[in-house]
Amino acid sequence: MNDIMIRKRKWQFTIFLIIMIAATYASSIITDFNALHGITTFPAALYWIFSNMLISQETLTRLPSILDKLLETIFMSIAATTTAAVISMFLGLMGSTTTRVNRAFSSLARFTASISRNIPVVAWALILLLSFGQNSLTGYLALFVGSIGFLTRVFIETIDEASQSSVEALRATGATYFQIVNKAVIPQCLPLLISWILFMIETNIRSATLVGILTGTGIGYTFDLYYKSMNYNVVALVTFSIVITVIIIELLSNYIRKVIL
């Protein structure tokens, strides 16, 4: 009986596991990571949370200004996502094999996406801060650049998956490129595209905290101010309002997704 195939697969899997374990070991050496030490600190961490992160009556007076900044962050994330989505739509159409105009443009689009995705959003934030200074536009731009990378990639995949067949059929009727894109490609992809846009908005609100800390904008800035002055009660309030917002937005986009997909 010949079970070379199975053996080979088992072998491959074993090799994969060994690679993973070796990489894990190497990583813990280079980062000086001690799992045991990490685990044993959980009680202390919990204790710290419950003794410091308390929202008191007094901190509630800061709610209006927090909500104000939160709103700025939400708008920043939405604006960054939608504008990035528009650009990514073009890049996606150029990059996808189904709709590309020619190979060179396609590579260019994929390359652009890869660059802007692979430079971490933190790096963008620091770079932009140098010339744009501390205002909403900086935060917006940092999120915008990061979003382009991610959205272009998923848009390309989505458009690729949309069936080639209806594109062919429309071409056979004598339709022009834009008609084909508009009437065959977009209608098929739109639900998924919207779903990714919603996902990106969620993600951006989460990273807006970090970006805000670095660029001094939005809720991240507020978080950073109180956090640096170690006023953890207000930090708790800020965190709480971020959590609520993110969860509301998640629920909302889950609902939209359920209906449109």
Binding site: S166, E168, A169, L170, R171, T173, F178, P187, L190
Partner: protein
Amino acid sequence: MSLLKVVGLDKSYHSNFRVLTDINFEVDTGEFVSIIGPSGAGKSTLLRCINRMVEVNEGKILFGDLDVGNLSKKALRKLRTNIGMIFQHYNLVPRLTVIENVLHGRFGYKTTLQGILGKFTEKEKEHAFFLLEKLGISDHAYKRCDQLSGGQQQRVGIARALIQEPKLVLCDEPIASLDPNSSKVIMDHLKAITSELNITCLVNLHQVDVAINYSDRIIGLNQGEIVFDGPSQMLTEGRINSIYGTETRQFITV
């Protein structure tokens, strides 16, 4: 003058392998011609050459007095409006309604802007409904295409081809994905197109019996060459075997 004339057509996708070799035939207006042949013989490629969905390497294709190989981009679009195409997998846009899919057949007559805005005249819409009615699926006009059965979807495909007001309809295995009942409905409709509307039909088929039943004339392809071309009555058992190669034939009928 014949509607379509193919002269010395050669086609290869890769330089080292010829898919079609020296294809010559003419088709007249109102003819119903079937193309049969084993898998990989080049049937689909031949159809795609006719409306230049793929480029030809050698030879000429004349549609009326147009040389298909020599058209500008604009003239090519114009040509394609004159040639409807029907696919094995219907190739509809699944999330759009039936009526929208049918109207897609009008894009060839539109400017880019009109097409993008989706502006269709009332007359076009009424024509679309008329066709759906004739094909017996006007009840489903506002349903999404992915909610229809295969046979119904293929009828939408036919309506999309007909609304182009084509002179020629190319059908690439229109019934290969359908059950026998739906297949009959579709073939009857195609037959009706030639007889009632005097539109020429060129149909790729795998089912020899269907080809014999419906078509005026049959072209047999094998390994990219025409090995039979004549009225369907003349397609004897022996000739069928020569088209398919005996052992292949057995495989197909299983």
